[in-house]
Subunit: 436 residues, 2 copies
Amino acid sequence: MTTAILYPGKDGAGVIRRTVLPGGLRVVTETMPTVRSVAVGMWVGIGSRDEAPEHMGATHFLEHLLFKGTSTRDAMEISASIEGIGGEINAFTAKEYTCYYARVLDEDLPLAIDVLADVVTSSLITPEDVESERGVILEEIAMHDDDPSDVVHEQFSAELYGDTPIGRPILGNDESINALTRDRIHEYYQRYYLPPLTVVSVAGNVDHERVVELVATAYERAGALATAASPAAPRLDGPGVERRSGVRVVDRPTEQANLVLGTTGVSRRDDRRFALGMLNAALGGGMSSRLFQEIREKRGLAYSAYSYTSQYADTGQFGIYVGCLPSKIDDVLKICRDELARVVAHGITPEEITRGKGQMRGGLVLGLEDTGSRMSRIGKSELVYERLMPVDEVLARIEAVTPDDIAEVAQDILNRPLTLAVIGPYADKDFSGAIA
Amino acid sequence: MTTAILYPGKDGAGVIRRTVLPGGLRVVTETMPTVRSVAVGMWVGIGSRDEAPEHMGATHFLEHLLFKGTSTRDAMEISASIEGIGGEINAFTAKEYTCYYARVLDEDLPLAIDVLADVVTSSLITPEDVESERGVILEEIAMHDDDPSDVVHEQFSAELYGDTPIGRPILGNDESINALTRDRIHEYYQRYYLPPLTVVSVAGNVDHERVVELVATAYERAGALATAASPAAPRLDGPGVERRSGVRVVDRPTEQANLVLGTTGVSRRDDRRFALGMLNAALGGGMSSRLFQEIREKRGLAYSAYSYTSQYADTGQFGIYVGCLPSKIDDVLKICRDELARVVAHGITPEEITRGKGQMRGGLVLGLEDTGSRMSRIGKSELVYERLMPVDEVLARIEAVTPDDIAEVAQDILNRPLTLAVIGPYADKDFSGAIA
């Protein structure tokens, strides 16, 4: 059992420590001595992109089932234990990992660790629970289908990446969910929910050694640390993705058209992510961004208009989202394409660079004030990066971005063939020339 | 100018102070010495229920227009000033008040106060901006119309309160927004955006005297404190509302049916609000609640199922929301009605009372860890209550709730005639006997 200090902190706060337990289980903590809450996350290195095509939705289905009961707690006991102390417990499934988390008062840390470890290590996954939860998942899919802004993002990913693991929906679809058997889901649980693929991260007013002891006790009781192993390497790469360019139109009688226009961005470890972040801030990262100003402030064409970036092991996305009345979509698309062309040709202004740096710097500091976001930063980082980048270093990397860096990333990324997804009262042919 | 200590705090933290400036402007602050962020809110005592029927949506329209430009800043300068330092600035309109707020690093407090005060006191509201923003509001209405879970809540309020100020939508509708003139909106601005109706609340690592000085300087520069006045009394009551019972069905080809079933609850100052809060926690306040357990955990009939309460000056709501496949709505409605009847007949269990108290206690403490929620608590409290209730007292009130209190409030509130709103692929007659 080895403990390392990943970051020494300042004035006794923000110390980040890491311990590897026998079995390859990692525990990372960050001390925040002045808060009363503590956030605990258990991160497992399996996401929807690890699924075989015919098991689409299995990872997310499994995440739901883990709250249904363990050898010592039923579903009611799991939720009541944390809710009865005013805490929250929940989970989410992403394309490359799954996270179970809780936020409680610091005095309740032992309980939070015990419940989360129980759920992650000792779930029963009974056939009855699988059947009951299948209904819940089908409801969740229907709920997302009723939200056009969800649908358009999913359709954009599907069009950009095609029928590949990263292009498929995390929730699966009615057909795949109905086809999943208890044994198949259980197999994913046994294959992936292993200590070397798991990171426990805790942020708050905590003592690292005490956290390690609590985690070790909970996992040992489940017999989960018996086999000697080392932590798995982070998911540093993927099979690579085939970038596609196309238009996908979903005909729906919505009041607003919803569109996503974009292309592939940069992967998680690509050094250009800081320059792309600043480019994104200037293009559509807030109310002072070009797209917001042109589309909403000057023309009143939309309520919601923004751009975003996302990163995975081997790819990323850059996209623009706008929701507007169907009659305005041609104007909106023209503005989007014009603004993209303008930054490719001329980059962004010195004022925008200054503002982008201030925005990323301040946003980073403000965003790390609660225990939940610190817990997420260190947990996710341990799972997907080779090393934790201290906040100071992130700030330095932001500061170091030059106009040339931004021009370069704009000319690469924003010159790529575009993909467009639209949902609204349209036919395919309505957008036949939209991204030509 | 008088300053009072509303709460002495503990160990130098959590001190709450209040100063009344000439002109009747109130400034309340809460010290949180260990945080880096500061949250600033400017609360104005006007909401959608103050609108004449033909001006429906004027308060929210006005809120939008305040970000369009002042005598010294245009829309871009307003947003860029705060975003360029990584902060956020935004606003929301409720039925009884409007709030403009920002969250920034503590060193940027002077800028945040200056920008917010500028927006609140010195907006130009030009005819051109009114026309451009009219389009944005129509887009926002269309966006909400596309979200069935938004629509069902609005339809429930409309059915419960009828065509009264509190039953009408905050956004207005296409017709009312198209009919609003610049002069009409400007009149609301001049009539309501006055120092006696305004509260400035600040939470973070701040010095009260310094905050008062910054606020006074900003308001004085706008000439806004020249007329001597005292703060307006809080909105302690209203015209009273006529409670209605009925069924409203919106026929839409959605994947899920969305329903809200409920009735009027208690008003903001009603002492029974603590007992009703605990009843709500047991019925539908979390994953361990009766409705979640029956509808989702045991039967797999829904993804989202919860109950809620809301309070206004002279009324309140208690409601249950469920989203489920249309084929399951009869089962869901039966469970809702059975569970309501069960708590009316038998109250809730001692375990549920213990859990409810823990849930409200822990939730309150965890919920006040960030500057934004503390700023909201003291600002809203100053505007709508006669006095600020310290957190200790809230905790004591929660602790003091008895089983009899809960049984009594259940027998009053949950025995009232019910109102039902449903959106989904239905005809009116499908629910003709649903709430009989």
